[in-house]
Amino acid sequence: MGVAESNEHHGRVAVITGGSGAIGTATIERLRNTGVVVHVLDIQPSKVPGVYFHRVDVRSEPEVDAAFDAIGKSAGRIDYLVCCAGIYRPVPFLDLLLEQWQETLQVNLTGYFLCCRAALRFMRPQKFGRIVLFSSMVARTGGAHVAHYAASKGGILGLARSLAVESAAENIRVNTVSPVITDTPMPRAVLSDEEMESRKARIPLGRIGTVDDMAEACMFLLSDDSSYVLGHDLRVNGGSTLW
């Protein structure tokens, strides 16, 4: 645990989208253990005890707005927003249906937009906010069969930088985390064990990322340790992409 992480987080209110996924769950545990009041927005209930769960489809403007309004009103404030709701469904480009393209863009990108906008309505007047958006290394590298996913993750970088510029003077910091392949059910659903091994071989530090690696990066960007860092894309990838 970092020197400055001691207890700046205690009593803060966090909203995390996709909080029931693997990276989300690891992040929620870290937040909860530092005394943060955590609200999870997801379509699947969170398995972490002691957090508030809101069943929300992040593509739905009324559902997102209603959830943030309810949280903001009951908690009195929203300090942190972490977005990691996402879908990853590789399809060869010529087989990619418009509906699949739109579904990925809507969940991965429009969902972030809606949640950022809803959170900022509370952060702006309170002159405090920390936002961490999970993008992906694929935003930079692209990849076979993931044009829709890469486009959505690239869009997140542009969204984050623009929001960072627009909000910095109001003491709201916006940053992104770009993981490389992480050992979670999401890649394992589409990759064989051999494929996971071959991905690992391409990572200079010699291992696949863990959910804890990603949660640490997120905690750093939420904390005062990163008080002069904004619009930054923190690449947690074991050295596999150096740009």
């Binding site: 970092g2 690696d213 640490e216 002069y228 894309d233 690449r235 050295g239």
Partner: protein, 253 residues
Amino acid sequence: MVASDSRVTVVTGGGSGIGRATAIRLARRGDAVCVCDLSEAGLSETAALIQSEGGAVLTGIVDVRDHAQVRAWIAEILARFGRINCLFSNAGVNARSIVADMALAQWSLLIDTHVTGTFNFCQAVLRGMVEQRAGSIVITSSDFAIVGVPNAANYCAAKTALYSLTKSLALEFASYGIRVNAIGPGPIDTPLLRAGRTPEEYSNARAAFETRLPIKRLGRPEEVAAVVDFLLGERASFITGQLLQPNGGQVMW
């Protein structure tokens, strides 16, 4: 003597600014901090600040450009502590000029201090880190590794070289469990930001930064120290070859 589980950390350019703030922060977290600088006065002040809090510090007046001096000082540290866990290679200078008027000495001073100085330190500490199969290095690069600015071609070239060096070292030593990252600070309120500027020029430059930067203020050395602390430690154990920019939003890349 330091506790066997304490890290031994080398900080270059620790006599002022970012280097000093980082040395102080790392000493607070329990590192035995070995600080060098060319300024004896600056070093003494850094050492006094660390000792006043009960921290462990060793100082050395070292010209980072001098390969033999660097080797000798690293040998002294190894003799004293038996290991080096972390290096923060941060020593830097500035000498502004347009390229047309730049003396070779102005060019060489920056390249030798930043680039060769960092090479000297990295090579000296990496031998032991390879044997330990562990270690972490942070190199002070700059936003100017990504974007250029006028009147500072020597500084921009040096800082870009440092970013390249970072990436090469990261790949070369990843299999030994050694991580190498760079920081790209934006405008930080340090003596270096004032160097070569009259008080009026400094005040104008500061006002320009405050207007232009999204965050509307200069950074503090302590804010950079927090980022170095993060990258050096276990929280960043899966991060290598990266440029982390505490820059108030100056360059988003």
